[in-house]
Amino acid sequence: MKRTVPLVIAIVAGFVLLIANFIPYAEDWGLTAQEWFNILAVGAMVLGGGNLIKLHLMKVSGQRKGWGYSVVTIVCFFGTLVIGMSKLGVHPNTLYPNYAWSGYYLERGSGLWWIYQHMVVPLTSMMFAMLAFYVATAAFRAFRAKNIEATLLLVTAGIVLLGRTYAGVWFFDNGWWSCPDWLLWLRFDNLTVWIMDIPNTAGTRAITIGIALGVVATSLRILLGVDRSYLGQD
């Protein structure tokens, strides 16, 4: 029962969406299935939050390695949840002044806005900014001209790196030298466009078609009940 019911739901929903896509009469069925999906997606968010807390509570209670970080996660989770749900510092919507919680949850100056502005924004921006250093070290290691393939990668990366800046234009058109028109295609920014338009697009299209075929095959296996891996182990 525990596996059969989800299996039936998945197969029915899958076929409904498939039929709704091809038969105009069944279009409304597809919309209903999507409404259900959206409701379930909200439920999944709650489930995800619950699971996160369960895992971290287990880590803290077992005092496993790094349990201090779990304490921080739990405190932040509940702090944000309480401040957000209670709309701390949010004024009622001017259209509905009698409803205390009718205001915009991220109103400037509110508790959640403060968390967003002073914690979420700097922390996530810092994480993204650190990528620059990781990319730099990874590039330094990857772009060694060990063989023909690595050399090709190195040359391509060099062209794209320069083509993505004003240097790509400047090398070919500056105060000392101006590139003749018939050689303009060699300018780094033009070469970058060519690399993106031709070799990159060809490769990406091939990969995309391959993925699409894989998705079709996997979807069919799920729809026919052959692939049940998404149900988990229990």
Binding site: Q34, F37, N38, N93, A145, T165, Y166, T201, T208
Partner: protein, 267 residues
Amino acid sequence: MLLAVAIPILTKTVFPEVVSKQAKMVFDAIDDLPDGSRILLSYDFDPASQGELLPMAQAFTRHCSIKGHKQYYMALWPLGSPMVDLSIDTIKSEYPDMVRGEDYVKFDYKTGGEAVIRMITQDLRGMFELDSRGISLDDIPMTKNVKNIQDMDLIINVSAGDPGTKQWVQFAATPFGITTVSGCTGVQAPQMYPYIPEQLAGVLGAIKAAAEYEAAIDEAYPSIADNPKAQEAKRRMGPQLVAHSLMIGLILVGNWIFFMSRKRGQA
């Protein structure tokens, strides 16, 4: 690397931009529409990628506002909604004649990703009964006659991942033929080029393309060049130039050391 990025920022070094074919395609997709066209802008990114994507999102807002397009904002990412607020702040401060509900409207974040797109291609009210201020769409002048997003003249998607441009192409642009342009991160851009020109009318890849797009707007509407906030992407190209040059220099030095050490090993 820290200095390479910091010095151009502190010295406010700005380099000229040559508008590429891609940036021109995106510019034309918006500019060629008759004034007052309906444009859906979906901000599918968060503060982590705002350094790369916010300047182009703001450029989209300014361009649409100059053209007097009706702007319908939404977000498929929970933290995309505050990004939309930044664009609305831009409209309020730089285009005070524009009226909320008549010229621009915001729909709050809804969970579901691609399911949200699928739903609003058929029935906008099935997903958004109210705007972000809690007003019924039937009472808002610019939404009361909109049944679904097939009524839009253009979709602009600013994307940092999934759900994002790929989903807009799969579930809105391709099945319903809605003209769509995308502004995305540099990592995503190579995956988006194959959709051009049939499924996407143009792609702005990362901050470089945003700077070119700003330059295209400057050329067409010179008055905006006086607004320093409208030159944000161009300003960020200074650090990119120095950092990229440093990277290339280090890679060349690294390779020279590699060859020298290999030569010594062989000897």
